[in-house]
Subunit: 417 residues, 2 copies
């Protein structure tokens, strides 16, 4: 199949829709979001049926239980997706926000205002809820969206898009605002990555492999998201109980997400006091431990860490643990292995706290808290389209303002240069 | 030569320098900028000698007079480059600026602060002053920079970098902050475009060909700059004198720059009154005119415009002119051919002014003023690294804040999720 032609058609339709979307009133967009929520709930039977097909295929293909769980929908999960759309409707509309206004000496009045990005491509993996989140957030920020979900969820996604798109279009959203790529052929992704004429940005959401493919092959601007090799450093002066509670939470509370800790670094001067109890807690919670030789001597359950371990996002109940000589050694280790997502120091020392926060280059740098808080909702944004780990455009959790661009509106009275 | 190894070495050195640069005080950076300015002036004899070599080679190669003029340095131009560095020293330091601070219900204090991007790659063409501008702006915003200038200016650039880098290093800037790629082999550019491990962003500055190459081949995030197919639309209700003054200025004042007008659109109802005098003015100023049939009948000097003309950035005293049926036809033409840089409407009609500014998708949209004002200095930024024509990260003229990223600094007291 000629994906370039097919995608150009979809891109063109999205761009045409984006032109109208940019000037829609907040009321129309919010009403559409409420309609979409109702349509999801009303259509739950057919969505669950389609999801059942995906689950059956997934079982045949031998998908892991974790992947099947991410793929699986039920009434409660559909209700949560609908609730998500209602929350997006309740958020302030970012479009039209003034970001500065000045009168120049020559009388020109220059206003900087927030406008939509235009057409956003989202490439994601197994979770069907991303379809709903992405469609809702892009719509609220006035963008058209081209969605390309994982092949595992193709039936669920097709059914979801059918319901929410119809609900939106019947509420006054221009047709074409939601484009769903139905094929599971990877060639379609390659064509999407070259669709500069119609796409303003591509946001990949998923594992390291997907993100690497997109970053390396896209000529459309990319916002890189998600991979998190996050560290927690237990400084010499840390409060032991507080440090253990945070280090336990950062690893165990939800190991599959990108803001969970993958490597624990421990100052050598506190290792004797901190590590025995800590390793014991992890073992009891079923955490597989991989450590440097200094760590291994504290607990027989600790296996030797290989070089590769320090660079691995396990996304699982596995933790690498290392004893370091001092704060600088911790900073150097993080500099070498971090994906610049979220990093934490546990300390009672003022200077060390400041030094760590200044020296560590990451989207979020914590003192005395769990890295698990790097999240659009926890940061108070009310929504999240992903967590940027690159430095341009957006860094850290991305909410509605991160789905926008700006435009200078200049009013004159005959000024020439 | 193995450019991957060579560039990785330079990238690594730049990244190491960037780590120290990020925490340098404003005073050290400003002092270094003043030193660099003095070094340029003190080294002017050797810089002019090197520039003479470039000019001689350029003449042998048959470079156009326009290109030779851009390449050519003299005492006044060196003084202007030095003055540019002193102006950058006088600008506020963007680094450390607070962009928001909140206390969450759980007591977490989350600050968003401005930090450097890290390592910036600049790929540019013949003008040696870009070397100085880029080095100065990147330094002030706390970034290391990898510079790759055009082969035409290789001797001038090498000499300039030698003087300013030594002056900066002797004033406390970490060695490695300025990397200059000495080879003129294009393979070096290709290697630079894949240097994701060390580079945070690449900014191409130059003609459409260079920018296309970078956008299509870079896996490092790119900020696309510059190409400007800018339009001025003369609405039915325009004041004739004001419209003619603006349309003349937008084309003639400096045709080689990206914010100059390439296409003039005229409402059919005002064509009889507006065009005869306007075309006469252009002809007298030596502007070559290419028009639609409706335009050709007003002046025998107007040649027939080909389809390609509407999409061409002439960067020269050439103008395409078209009569359109109404405002919507003007908006549609702009939508089809604009590079989304700068667009203007000349009108006395309130509704048409608003409609044009809302519907036209460009970095800067003007009412009753020349597009020539899209410029970092004219916008009051005090500096400019380029004009972004993409929608992510920055749009329109980019000053110091556009050379930065952000970081969340999170302070807690034991918070877990």
């Amino acid at each position: 199949m000629d994906y370039c032609t097919e995608l150009a058609k979809r891109g063109c339709a999205a761009k045409t829709a984006a032109r109208s979307l940019a000037t829609l009133s907040t009321a129309v967009k919010n009403n559409a979001l409420m309609n979409m929520a109702a349509a999801l709930e009303a259509g739950s039977a057919s969505i669950l049926k389609a999801n059942g097909d995906d689950i059956a295929v997934g079982r045949q293909r031998g998908l892991s239980p974790a992947l099947l769980d991410r793929l699986m929908l039920n009434e409660a999960r559909i209700a949560a997706m609908a609730e998500g759309l209602r929350q997006i409707a309740a958020l302030p509309d970012p479009i039209g926000e003034g970001l500065g206004l000045q009168r120049r000496p020559n009388g020109l009045e220059i206003a900087k205002v927030r406008v939509p990005l235009g057409v956003i491509g989202i490439i994601y993996e197994a979770r069907p809820n991303v379809t709903v989140d992405a469609a809702g957030l892009c719509l609220k920020a006035g963008n058209a969206v081209i969605l390309r979900g994982g092949s595992e969820a193709i039936n669920s996604n097709r059914e979801i898009i059918h319901h929410i798109a119809q609900a939106a279009y019947s509420a006054g959203i221009p047709e074409g605002a939601f484009q769903f790529i139905e094929t599971t052929d990877r060639q379609a992704v390659n064509a999407l990555l070259k669709l500069n004429q119609y796409l303003d940005v591509i946001i990949p959401r998923g594992g390291a492999g997907l993100i690497k493919t997109v970053v390396e092959n896209s000529s459309v601007p990319v916002i890189e998201t998600g991979t998190g090799v996050c560290h927690t450093f237990i400084d010499e002066s840390a409060d032991i109980d507080l440090a253990q509670a945070i280090a336990f939470n950062a690893k165990v509370s939800r190991p599959a997400v990108c803001n969970s800790m993958e490597t624990l670094l421990v100052h050598q001067a506190i290792a004797d006091k901190f590590l025995p109890g800590m390793l014991e807690q992890y073992s009891k919670a079923g955490v597989e431990l991989r450590g440097c030789p200094a760590v291994m001597k504290y607990n027989p359950a600790v296996k030797a860490a290989a070089d590769q371990d320090w660079a691995t996002e396990y996304s699982d109940l596995i933790l690498s643990v290392k004893v370091v000589g001092d704060l600088q050694a911790a900073i150097d280790h993080i500099d070498q292995y971090s994906t610049r997502h979220s990093e934490a120091i546990i300390t009672r020392d003022y200077d060390n706290a400041r030094r760590f926060q200044q020296a560590v280059d990451a989207a979020a740098v914590y003192v005395n808290a769990s890295t698990r808080f790097t999240d659009g909702f926890e940061f108070g944004f009310g929504a999240e389209i992903g967590i940027s780990t690159q430095k341009i455009h957006a860094r850290g959790p991305m909410g509605l303002p991160e789905l926008t661009s700006v435009k200078y509106i200049v009013n004159g009275s005959g000024q020439i240069r």
